[in-house]
């Protein structure tokens, strides 16, 4: 039998823009994007829950759209712009969502939370005033085992309202 390190482990160099910074890292061709982010780049805020695209814990933004980090090989993301929970937190892009989740305790163990926030962020960028049903529908790809979802729906609805109120204030003449 072979005693060489597996060919599957042979490293490939990939380059991304992660949270606004250009990075290059060595990955095995079989490494998923979530593994690369968590291991090579030490961005452990993105979580692996099911590794089959069912639970939504691994959602990150890839070129501005939410994608499952577990369903994509790191090499496939070569050249892409990736934003993770860490970057979105530091930029303040989701500060209102985070504050509302905190205020309403829309998280318990917190393992699903980064994926929830990324999904909520995308939802509110598409729909300014989603109904509760639309929010629940949008969260259908995010498992939460702790909260029962209601506080999450409440938090997203409250942020949508606040953003809409702010927009109408800013947009109103005089």
């Amino acid at each position: 039998m072979s005693s060489e390190i597996d060919d599957a482990e042979e490293a490939v160099r990939v380059r991304f823009t992660v949270n606004g910074r250009k990075v290059a890292c060595e990955v095995a061709p079989r490494d998923t994007l979530v593994d690369c982010l968590r291991n090579a780049l030490e961005l452990t805020g993105t979580h692996a829950g099911c590794e089959m695209g069912a639970c939504g814990a691994c959602l990150v933004q890839l070129d501005g759209r939410a994608v499952h980090g577990c369903l994509m090989f790191a090499v496939q993301a070569d050249g892409a712009r990736i934003d993770t929970i860490e970057g979105l937190s530091e930029s303040g892009a989701i500060a209102d969502l985070q504050a509302e989740f905190h205020r309403r305790n829309a998280l318990q163990c917190g393992f699903c939370t980064p994926g929830m926030l990324i999904n909520a962020h995308e939802l509110l960028s598409r729909l300014t005033e989603p109904s509760r049903a639309a929010i629940r529908d949008a969260l259908s790809g995010n498992f939460c085992r702790c909260t029962g979802y209601e506080a999450i729906v409440d938090a997203i609805a409250a942020v949508a309202d606040a953003r809409a109120a702010k927009a109408s204030q800013e947009g109103s003449p005089g």
């Binding site: 829950g49 305790n105 163990c109 085992r145 209601e150």
Partner: protein
Amino acid sequence: MNALTSLDRPNSYIGRSVPRPNAKRLLAGRGRYVTDIRLPRMLHAAFLRSPYAHARIISIDVDAARALAGVHLVATGADIARICAPWTGTLDHFKGMTSEPQLPLPLDRVVWAGQAVVAVVAESRALAEDALELISIGYEELPAVVDLDAARQPGTPRVNPSGTSNICFRTQLDSGGVDEAFASAAHVVEEEFSFGRHTPVTLEPRAIVADYDAESGSLTVHHATQTPYQFQDLYARHYGIPEARVRVIAPDIGGSFGMKLHVYHEDMAVVGLSILLARPVKYVADRIESFVSDIHARDHHVRARMAVDVEGKILAMDIHDATAIGAFSTYPRTSVVEGNQVVRLIGAPYDFKSYRAVLEVVFQNKVQTSQYRAVGHPIACAVTERMVDLAASQVGIDPFTMRARNVIADNAYPTASPTGYKFEALSHEICLQRLRGIMDYDALRTEQAELRQRGIHRGIGIATFVEITNPSPAFYGVGGARISSQDGATLSLTPSGEVRCAISVTEQGQGTEAIIGQIVADQLGVAQDHVKVITGDTEVTPHGGATWACRGAGIGGETALQAARRLKANILEIAGLILQEQPSALDIIDGQVVGVATGQLRLPVAEIARIAYFRSDTLPPGTQAQLTVSHHFAPQGYPFAFTNGIQGCYLEVDVHTGFIKLLKHYVVEDCGRIINPMLVDEQLRGGVVQGLGAALFEECRYGETGQLLNGSLADYLVPMAMEMPDIIIDHVETPTADTILGAKGCGEAGTAAASACVLNAVNDALAPLAASINAIPITPARVLKALGRY
């Protein structure tokens, strides 16, 4: 005019909805779960698992795997058995129970499909999995016992060939008078129930990093668990390491629900692998591994009879519960607690005398079952509440009326259930009234009747429950388990006048750290953001039971309260010396020592700390300031603090597709003193949703050969946002007099009654169609079958 309440006093945090201070980290992706931990020189373990539910191991060939570059160790059962003492999942107070001794990896026989057989430790998880493919194991398949009923048949193959039967444990309760009550009853109702096996599904899978330092002979384990102290004891004893050299750290935990407090073979193996290699070894279960190796729960068949008089008064219940647990009993809490609680909790809300139950706990070739959130409660509640509805229907009275006639009266306490559970004070009657109000029950009935005319089938279900919380040593200690029912806290005033509280209750997201901080700040008289709470590290906090069975608030909270009062007394003693006052004339408000009589500010607490730590020379000779206190609290008085409540459910059944739409859920709950109303509500909501999952979706489905058929998150359905209703919550507060704080638990309450409510509501919807359901999960196929359409 608004009266001032206790919440208007400064630092009055008990009873206040304060957000959790530790949640901000998690929201920013800055949690630190065991899954995230990476230590220098850390290696990764993977396990080759049995494809058979029952087989003899004939041969194991690991040569090729050992030769793969990057592989550090390939270990079989025999390799780890040399350093690990076996364990047996029995407790003395379950008389006559049996279970086979267990080792991390088996020596010669596998007993469930998915059991870990060989471990590989390599540079990466992927390499370790590559090596697994190079291992060949020869098996001789043995007859597998898969079905619960089959396991109980005489002549069935035995799960353990050395045993005389497949029975793990059998017990019987009989309060007397049952046969006479049935003979004289106006009505007798009977039903058989079946409850699907399900599994907790934490979003973070089980994870462990074991780090053995050969030079110092010490072991550090970063373990995603609720119970670090229990594991410190187990690792010390089974690997022969002095307890003080074993440190277990439970950092952020991605959900547990009871699942992460049991001994798992892989976790024990990882500790052994680290000892063999003297390097850190990490193992994280992947999702498929979670499904085949995390505990399952709730696999029960129950036969129930209830006798009632002409007015609908319950006279007697007669129960037979058979439950299948896997091939052995789980360690160290066993697999019989669930069944034991089922037979003891049935009928618990109701005032009747004659009760008889038989419990049979049987082995089968599936993964072990054990305690999962609301242990036994959902089954006891579903059986009881369905029987109550069946009886109400026989008598011809409304479900609310039936319950009002039968619940133990609020003025009847203290009292006991027919099974011997002692109740200090419950509030069924007022809860029942409140539920009727928040549901707007009469309006719902009117709406239901109108919609039925239009072929829309809605159902209303209610379920009363009793919950076990704050367990004393009667739960595990008396059975010989080294599982503490007390907790300990070390509270320090820092030199800057802030407070540090290291406490043995643990945090898995329910808000333990938040409520402990609230209690300490409230009792000491300081701002909550000046209190830092530290949990989950055996090296840092005193030994204690940690968080399970709803003991965090009731027992942990009381520990913190008493510790804070002691520290406050010590602070005021020094303040008295400095101010030349009697300590009893002083108080602390908002971090300031004040005069009790005048309310006048005298001295900041920070100044006392400064003097005590840096200028002790200015204190009177002989003064030794004690600004750190360690305090333990063990529950005394009632063996358990029972709580109670009632839930309601409104749903719609599509009789063409069998789909059930949950419209609204209601909870009235009494957990005693509420420390943080928001966190209690969120515990209830989360608990309800886990119960709704059990009611409608969740079941571990097995094929005839004992293979789990739906072991992925695409196939095993858990509740999602779209299917879940909004949940309306109300509270009654009946504090326990056993503690100063008066808090009881609330974590199981939601799960306890949610599935019973749904079962009753679905049956209510189907009643005009002469169809009924007696099994959960209530899948569309089951609904259509009941309707004769499938």
